[in-house]
Symmetry: C2
Subunit: 202 residues, 2 copies
């Protein structure tokens, strides 16, 4: 089936094949403080202790300035995209000239902390500051896999439930499908911790 | 903030910190044809040509039988979780004894193709057969990163739009937040391909 699809349709299809995706803006700066901002849909959970997030970057696409900045400085931010700014976030994927910051080009606001050299997105409801921990280049297609440790968090105090759960839906965070479709969510509820009839350590 | 959180609350919080996640059932079999099924929320898009999907597995958690099978056979399936079976899918994460297949334990049906040694989930609207391409162990916490090539697809003919886009929402596919919350989605629409005012190759 895949072989029969024209290139563009194949890309559309395969970008949806993993399921719903997270929507995060990757914020970086170069040594001169010039900022870059790139939409990422491949951020994933790696671990809780230490707190680690993974990110896959395709180096031959637009975010290569972001990847260069990230690797050079070792610092970056991930900022959740919400419904109010998802259209502006999407525009960061355009091929902006190197001399233009995507912040300015799309109308989002850089915000700085004293403890990180990369810019946050002021409009984002969940702002995460990371230090680079590990970096692999995939043999299969040259993608960069980046693992970072969470070093700073900027979010509303009431964004967490009593048991720690982050209420992404209440924050208006969106999910992505394919290359260009955005979704709000409606919770089906939380499921209890799953136990087998005879729970063992096997 | 993170350091002050008790272990369980910290795990709840950090599992939601990447944003909304895909929901896939990983199907594997051992050399004797005994099946395993494990819920995964860390499948991500890697590339369209060749068609590649990534998957992060925490080896010290329940899915280690699945990881052993996957590495030994080099073949596995990923099956999207929809609203109708998300409760059964969640139950695969219980600690079932090795002699029990999660298919049987939770009430899902294994389905076989002649070209793959791993079982599909008959109830799933998008069934993907993969061959292992590449495997990394992360230095930072020992997680296994698995890259597979899509070799077989089983889905309804009308699941794709004319331009290739896979309509996950129409298929009832769910998104996950945190460790245990499931969501249906409501589309905000597709955004046009983003172009800068002066599109260049810079």
């Amino acid at each position: 089936m895949l072989d029969a699809l024209p290139r563009r349709e194949r890309a559309n299809f395969l970008n949806g094949l993993s399921g719903f995706k997270s929507a995060n803006l990757l914020g970086t700066a170069d040594a001169h403080g010039r900022t870059n901002l790139a939409l990422m849909s491949s951020v994933f959970h790696v671990g809780a202790a230490p707190p680690l997030l993974g990110l896959l970057i395709r180096p031959h696409t637009v975010p290569r300035h972001s990847l260069e900045n990230l690797l050079a400085s070792g610092q970056y931010t991930l900022n959740h995209v919400d419904e109010a700014m998802h259209e502006r976030a999407h525009l960061t994927s355009a091929r902006h000239p190197r001399t233009t910051s995507e912040f300015e080009a799309v109308g989002l606001t850089p915000a700085w902390s004293t403890s990180l050299s990369a810019p946050y997105v002021a409009e984002s409801p969940v702002q995460i500051g990371l230090h680079l921990r590990e970096h692999h280049t995939l043999d299969c297609n040259g993608c960069a896999l980046v693992i970072g440790e969470v070093r700073e968090l900027r979010l509303a105090e009431d964004a967490r439930a009593a048991d720690g759960q982050l209420d992404l839906q209440a924050l208006g965070v969106v999910a992505i499908s394919g290359l260009d479709e955005y979704h709000r969510t409606e919770s089906l509820g939380r499921r209890p911790y799953a136990r087998a009839p005879a729970d063992s350590d096997d």
